[in-house]
């Protein structure tokens, strides 16, 4: 039985003849009981809100756990590995390309090592300063040097000076020297190529 009902039955049992003091105390007790019930009800309501919040968070946690579990599955791992390999391969190729670029330039740069007896010496001396030849040659520097070198080669700057007219048709670039110009010295040079 609820406390308020008990108090109401006590009040009814005392009847109208009960001393005023007792009636006043009972009335106070009823009010107090009402206050306690109100407070309890409020507290209960607050607890329900919290429980709901807890359930919501628990559901959220469960969803996250599920996602985490999915993310750590074997298929995802394999995909990750594949992407890592692609990245490694890309970096390796990039490095190779850069090294090749530098090597190509170093090979081309040998044209600057001509002796002072070489017919190209004067030409080479004039343009040598326009290239970065010293220090750390980065791929970017090599690329710039090669671009400039290609321009000069296209313009025929490094072609050997023309010989005196021999009366024979000029040989194509990739052809063996015309036999009329055959010497054993040329033969030796061709062997070294």
């Amino acid at each position: 039985m609820a406390i308020k009902e008990i108090l109401d039955r006590i009040k009814t049992s005392l009847g109208a003849d009960a001393p005023a003091e007792i009636s006043a105390l009972i009335a106070d007790a009823v009010r107090e009981a009402q206050d306690i019930l109100d407070s309890l009800s409020a507290a209960n309501k607050e607890s329900a809100t919290r429980k709901a919040k807890i359930r919501e968070l628990e559901a959220e946690l469960e969803a996250k756990n599920s996602e985490l579990e999915k993310a750590s599955s074997s298929n995802t791992k394999a995909e990750l590995e594949r992407l890592k390999k692609i990245e490694e391969e890309y970096l390796k190729r990039k490095q190779e390309e850069e090294e090749k670029l530098i090597r190509t330039w170093q090979e081309k740069a040998k044209v600057f090592e001509v002796k002072d007896t070489d017919p190209l010496y004067e030409t080479v001396s004039k343009i040598k300063d326009k290239f970065v030849l010293e220090g750390d040659i980065t791929p970017e520097i090599a690329q710039k040097n090669l671009a400039a070198m290609q321009l000069l080669e296209t313009a025929g700057v490094f072609n050997p000076p023309a010989k005196e007219a021999s009366g024979y048709a000029p040989a194509a670039n990739n052809e063996k020297p015309k036999s009329s110009d055959y010497t054993f010295g040329q033969e030796l040079k061709n062997r070294k190529r």
Partner: protein, 317 residues
């Protein structure tokens, strides 16, 4: 084909140099050239006589004849020249390539080898007139086959010969090995082109300081028929050849004006043939042919070759 055509055919870079060099070496300029069967060795058939055919009537019979040839082989010796270049000379040029990068020097080295080859082709390995270690030459083969024509009796030591050759592919030819680089004259740097110090004086131990380059060719003469070559021997100014002898010489090789028969002689021989023309030729006053220099005999080319000497001895006969 001749040497020029052969070298052009194989796209040899030496073709024009050698064509130019052999212009002064008549026998090499006009000879038939071919490749050896086995690089430094050549095996070939020698025809003793042509086989004989007969007429066979219907249901008749015929006597068979054996293939009348024998197999012969010849080695291709090296005709070589070793050139030594002093260290100082090489320094002057900077490198061996630069030293050898000279057309005249290249032609000189090739010429020296071609001259030696021409000498061997004519006189073979004769100890006096030929090249030691060489193959048998035209003059020796003519003698071996009984193809020395006439009975001129010039004094020994002052004779010359007129040689007739009927070149034929795979029968009478000069054989050379088929080289990968297409060169007739090969070259190799001694010690890979490094400085050499051979001992110059064994007593004092003094040494030379030089570089060496070796040049060589391999070749041999193939005469696969008795009718390949013949010669008129012991010709001198006092015992000149006669017109009949020259005709006989041509007949001895079954020669004809087919572009493959040649008469080889030196300047003495040619002068004597000219004199023969002076004696025998009869011309009408209007005829201008008299001044024509002898260049052929019955349309068979007369080829000058200075490798034929005028000091032949009877040892060759």
């Amino acid at each position: 084909m001749n040497i020029r055509d052969l070298l052009l055919d194989i796209k040899s870079p030496q073709a024009p140099v050698i064509s130019e060099v052999v212009k002064a070496l008549g026998v090499l300029e006009t000879a038939q050239f071919g490749f050896s069967s086995d690089f430094l060795r050549h095996e070939y058939e020698v025809l003793k006589e042509d086989g004989e055919a007969a007429i066979r009537s219907v249901n008749g019979s015929i006597v068979s004849t054996m293939e009348n040839s024998i197999m012969a082989s010849v080695q291709l010796p090296s005709i070589q020249r070793l050139v030594t270049i002093d260290q100082i000379i090489k320094m002057k040029y900077g490198s061996l390539e630069a030293f050898l990068d000279s057309k005249s020097r290249t032609a000189t080295y090739i010429r020296s080898i071609m001259q030696k080859l021409a000498q061997a082709v004519i006189y073979g390995d004769d100890p006096t007139f030929g090249v030691s270690g060489a193959f048998k030459g035209l003059r020796q083969i003519a003698k071996a086959n009984g193809q020395l024509i006439g009975s001129l009796n010039g004094s020994t030591g002052s004779c010359t010969s007129i040689i007739a050759v009927h070149w034929a592919e795979n029968e009478t030819q000069i054989v050379i090995p088929e080289q990968e680089n297409g060169n007739l004259v090969q070259m190799e740097l001694v010690g890979g082109g490094t400085l050499q110090a051979p001992t110059a004086d064994t007593t004092t131990g003094a040494k030379n300081l030089n570089y060496s380059v070796s040049f060589w060719t391999n070749a041999a003469l193939q005469c696969g028929s008795k009718y390949s070559v013949a010669a008129i021997k012991r010709i001198t100014p006092n015992t000149p050849p006669t017109a009949a002898l020259i005709d006989e010489l041509i007949d001895a090789v079954k020669g004809m004006a087919d572009g493959r028969t040649f008469l080889y002689m030196n300047r003495l021989g040619r002068r004597l043939v000219k004199e023969l023309k002076n004696t025998k030729l009869e011309l009408a006053p209007s005829d201008t042919d008299y001044n024509t220099v002898v260049a052929s005999w019955d349309n068979i080319p007369i080829v000058l070759d200075e490798m034929i000497v005028s000091t032949e001895t009877t040892a060759l006969d």
